[in-house]
């Protein structure tokens, strides 16, 4: 994939992060049932995972944060060393990490949404 395509996706993910993170924090602080004091209680946290809108928001946040973070890591590693084989190792590592992070995160979201 071209660098410009990866960068373009990164810009989109940054915008998605800005919106979803702001909404996520707002939901934690202001939109909770009993306000900020109750925001981190078990019941409030679980109730968010049962709400379709909240789950969609968390899913987008997970995808955007994973891509943005790993894209940054990839850039740092590619600056650190150069070479075709290193490029391949870095790409495989970041894709692998993305699969693990998205898999684990989605598993949590889906299981909580399903009431497990």
């Amino acid at each position: 994939m071209k660098e410009s395509t990866l960068q373009l996706i990164n810009y989109i993910m940054i915008l998605a992060l800005l919106v979803t993170l702001a909404l996520h924090l707002a939901m934690q602080a202001f939109l909770g049932v009993n306000g900020y004091a109750d925001a981190l209680s078990y019941q409030t946290a679980i109730s968010r995972y049962r709400d379709a809108l909240s789950v969609s928001l968390l899913t987008i946040l997970l995808i955007a944060a994973t891509y943005h973070g790993l894209f940054g890591l990839r850039n740092i590693l590619l600056e650190w060393r150069q070479g075709r084989s290193w490029h391949g190792v870095v790409t495989l590592t970041t894709v692998g990490l993305a699969v693990v992070m998205l898999g684990w995160g989605m598993r949590t979201i889906v299981l909580a949404f399903g009431g497990v």
């Binding site: 660098e3 410009s4 395509t5 990866l6 960068q7 373009l8 590619l78 600056e79 150069q82 490029h87």
Partner: protein, 272 residues
């Protein structure tokens, strides 16, 4: 914007050998002389370790760092190596590290530096050929990669261009400031990414890629895009801005790279 480059990697400091040339037994505080601390190193000499050598140079009005180096070469040490040509900021040959900052030796007057001791060394991010002279092979390789000339179908077909390629003032202003580049390489010396990634095209080559890509007479975008939209192309730039801070001709290569990124996106979207 002023970016201090004190943290830029400096040549290895080893033994300081003081070889002073004192014409009239002047002291350090004498305003009629200046101490020039010059990096000396010959990588080909087996026993040659990098070292800083101090020379006392007579001060005169308008004395530039290049003048001082020439004085040392003529009067004290004719083995001192540095590169220069026009002596008036046009050829871009005398780029060097002056008091830790990439500058042109011919355009930098010693009086304006405001220091008793002037430290001169080779540009960072380049291999040392000898003393202050550096190897520009990679720099020109990167410059050639972006095809720094107007590409037109006539060139490929071998047909003559039969009409003038007129431009409006607006079309010329799209790229004009980047045409002022004298290829002195100071921007690449200041760039932290060039220091990390030797394959990174660097601010000079990337700004020139924009310069030709933005020229209404050019038709070579597809060829150039392959080079600039690569893992070591314009998207490696992290906007440190030090390239623009050191340019002696007032060119803003940092902006050139950002405009190039925009150009890549625009043409990519237009293509699809």
């Amino acid at each position: 914007m002023v970016v201090e480059l004190q943290d830029a990697p400096k040549p290895k400091e080893v033994t300081v050998v003081k070889v002073e040339f004192v014409p009239e037994q002047e002291t350090v505080s004498n305003p009629q002389t200046v101490l020039l601390r010059v990096f000396r190193y010959n990588p080909k000499a087996k026993a040659g370790e990098p070292r800083m050598v101090t020379y006392r140079v007579p001060m005169s009005k308008g004395l530039t760092v290049l003048d001082a180096l020439l004085w040392v070469k003529e009067n004290v040490d004719n083995g001192l190596s540095f590169r220069y040509s026009c002596r008036m900021g046009i050829c871009g040959s005398c780029g060097m590290l002056i008091n830790g900052k990439p500058m042109l030796g011919c355009e930098t007057q010693i009086a304006e530096l405001g220091t008793d001791v002037v430290e001169v060394g080779p540009l960072t991010n380049y291999e040392v050929v000898r003393d202050v002279a550096t190897d520009f092979t990679d720099f020109f390789r990167h410059h050639n990669k972006i095809k720094p000339y107007l590409i037109r179908t006539e060139n490929g077909d071998g047909k003559p261009i039969e009409k003038e390629l007129l431009q409006s003032e607006e079309q010329k202003l799209e790229y004009y400031q980047f045409a002022m580049c004298i290829m002195c390489g100071l921007c690449d010396a200041a760039c932290p990414i060039v220091g990390m990634d030797k394959d990174f095209l660097g601010p000079q080559a990337l700004a020139q890629a924009y310069r030709f890509g933005a020229d209404s007479r050019d038709q070579g975008w597809p060829e150039r895009a392959e080079v600039v939209d690569s893992p070591h192309g314009c998207f490696r730039c992290e906007l440190a801005g030090s390239c623009s801070a050191v340019c002696p001709k007032g060119v803003d290569p940092g902006m050139g790279v950002q405009l190039l990124k925009r150009q890549v996106f625009r043409r990519k979207i237009a293509h699809h």
